[in-house]
Symmetry: C2
Subunit: 213 residues, 2 copies
């Protein structure tokens, strides 16, 4: 059985958890107490992930980290959601990289500082990050104008990767996509219809924390 | 012949240009005038890359963007530098993602604001970004303590991806790795020995700009 090292606030963990559910694969959660600094601990890094991040997937023989690598591995292994042709597979990889580089990476950091930081966020940093988030979101909003999913006409791991942080409660990031990004909102509604979907706080371990700032 | 849409300040372009040279593949540069806003232009985005980024690779039949996707495609096509086993290939993908998420992505933004921004950088943002860069660099410095390359014992596309921004003149980012990160500095020296290496400003089109701030 898969073991996923994860925690409830981590959209990167939710990318994999949602995908395992869509694949109908049983998995067990190993709680990572990120909010109390576990991933900064030297021995955790040595034993679990030198990159100091969740998620981490154990599948018995392999230990994998980085949500995009885990999604790619699982899609190949189970022969699903990875893109049907070489062109689609390359397009999936392109969007996985964009997601990690500019899309939910900036949103994740923005949301974390706004909702869960140790102290109130610096307005200058928040404003700068919001500019980066908005620029990436405008690209995806436009991309989804004439499409139902990110690549091709059915969900792929690019969708699982890109939607995960956006499926958290809007009060955490301050983004309400129904108002600001209607194409993204419609796509999120389609992802919520994927068999196996449940919200991040239903699926992942660790106490929910209400936004602090 | 490959056509690479690129510009001299772009470490993401250099990732691919350096790799094409290491593969001994002829290629032609198509200059992208990023510094004067070409990638923000609507018609450029429509025709060349909706993500508004360089590099873009044309190989006759395909147009690819995102350096990590281009590197993966080229490594597969030419059967080199992609990792020799499935484990190595997954490890390569893991570091490509880390690079795009946290390593040279933060360094690139930090360097750009410091050296090429339209106005002097905000000290609060620069200090915050430096914290992110330093955290990612500490992980790679440690990773390279007992290894010659990022994955396995020979260069892979993970190395080409991760080294590119670090091979620009130190005065642009303010990082002098020989002093701050000796393992990274030794690894960069090894990458400079790869057959085909030449520095970014020798290889990529577009005028060199001296750091402004």
């Amino acid at each position: 059985m898969y073991r996923l090292h994860c925690f409830s606030q981590s959209g990167n963990s939710f990318k994999v958890a949602f995908f395992l559910r869509a694949l109908h694969q049983p998995w067990e959660a190993v709680f990572v107490d990120f909010m109390h600094g576990l991933t900064r601990d030297g021995s955790w890094r040595e034993q679990t992930n030198e990159m100091g991040e969740a998620p981490v997937l154990d599948d018995g023989s392999r230990r994998l980290t980085q949500s995009g690598a885990i999604l790619t591995y699982l899609a190949r292994k189970h022969g699903a959601y990875g893109g049907r042709t070489e062109d689609e597979q390359l397009e999936v990889l392109r969007w996985l990289l964009f997601d990690n580089h500019k899309f939910t990476s900036y949103l994740a950091t923005y949301r974390f500082l706004k909702a869960f930081g140790a102290k109130p966020p610096e307005p200058v940093i928040i404003a700068w990050l919001k500019g980066r988030v908005d620029a990436a979101f405008a690209i995806v909003e436009k991309h989804l104008a004439a499409r139902r999913f990110i690549v091709g006409d059915a969900p792929t791991i690019a969708d699982f990767s890109m939607c995960a942080y956006l499926l958290y409660p809007p009060e955490e990031s301050g983004y309400d996509f129904t108002r600001s990004h209607p194409n993204i909102a419609a796509w999120l509604a389609r992802m919520r219809e994927v068999d196996g979907y449940a919200s991040p706080y239903e699926v992942l371990p660790g106490e929910r924390i209400l936004p602090k700032w």
